[in-house]
């Protein structure tokens, strides 16, 4: 199980701020994103512009998602 977090525009498009998903062992960030894309067609436009954080650190698409991880979709940021 992993916990997915949606923020800002991603949260609005997905219509939820978090959900829990079962992933095959050894699944990559890229594979997780395919699952997300299939579950939330409304995210299609925002998803390619998101960075991904696994356990609060930015991560590439090839990284493996550990079981129990907290994975966040990070749309373009605008702090400061």
């Amino acid at each position: 199980m992993v916990t997915l977090l949606y923020f800002a525009a991603a949260r609005e498009k997905a219509g939820i701020s978090s959900e829990r998903l079962e992933l095959p062992a050894g699944a990559t960030v890229g594979a997780l994103l395919e699952v997300v894309r299939a579950r939330h067609p409304a995210l299609a436009e925002v998803l390619p512009r998101c960075r991904i954080a696994v356990d609060q650190a930015f991560t590439g698409a090839d990284a493996t998602v550990p079981d129990g991880a907290e994975v966040a979709l990070i749309p373009p940021v605008a702090g400061g």
């Binding site: 923020f7 800002a8 954080a53 966040a72 749309p75 702090g79």
Partner: protein
């Protein structure tokens, strides 16, 4: 400072004094502070034609608070390593802000001013790139997530 944490996300108004106090010490000859405020206008990205100015009424700041504090803390520690003698501290606001409210306060002290300015500038630039914080502008032309474009 008795803590090594260099960043705070706050729902309440920020304090310039608190940030200055957090970095002040007997060897600090200069302190550079950057304050980001909500201003009454923004540049609108338009797919065609020149940028135009749009009036802003208020802003909602949303943050992935725990990660944002971690990211900003890392940025400040990085600045302290790059410019020896620098000590930094950041407060960032979340929630709904109106014109003039402080969105971010960054204070960097150093024995000499050049390092204080350089570190402070570095922290705001990196924060704007990487801190997981978003803002939704309530402007005269509706509500938009800043940075997502039209």
């Amino acid at each position: 400072m008795t803590t090594t944490r260099r960043a705070r996300l706050l729902e309440a108004p920020l304090s310039v004094d608190a940030c200055v106090e957090a970095v002040k010490h007997a060897g600090a000859g200069g302190i550079c502070v950057f304050i980001g405020c909500v201003r009454d206008h923004t540049l609108k990205d338009t797919s065609a034609g020149p940028q135009s100015t749009v009036a802003v009424v208020k802003l909602d700041y949303e943050a992935y608070a725990e990660m944002a504090e971690k990211v900003i803390d890392g940025i400040v520690h990085d600045a302290e390593a790059r410019w020896p003698g620098v000590r930094g501290f950041v407060q960032h606001r979340s929630g709904t802000l109106t014109i003039g409210d402080l969105a971010v306060v960054i204070a960097c002290s150093a024995p000499h001013r050049a390092e204080a300015f350089a570190a402070c500038r570095h922290v705001i630039e990196r924060l704007k790139e990487d801190a997981p914080i978003w803002k939704r502008e309530h402007g005269e032309d509706g509500v938009t997530w800043v940075g997502l474009g039209p």
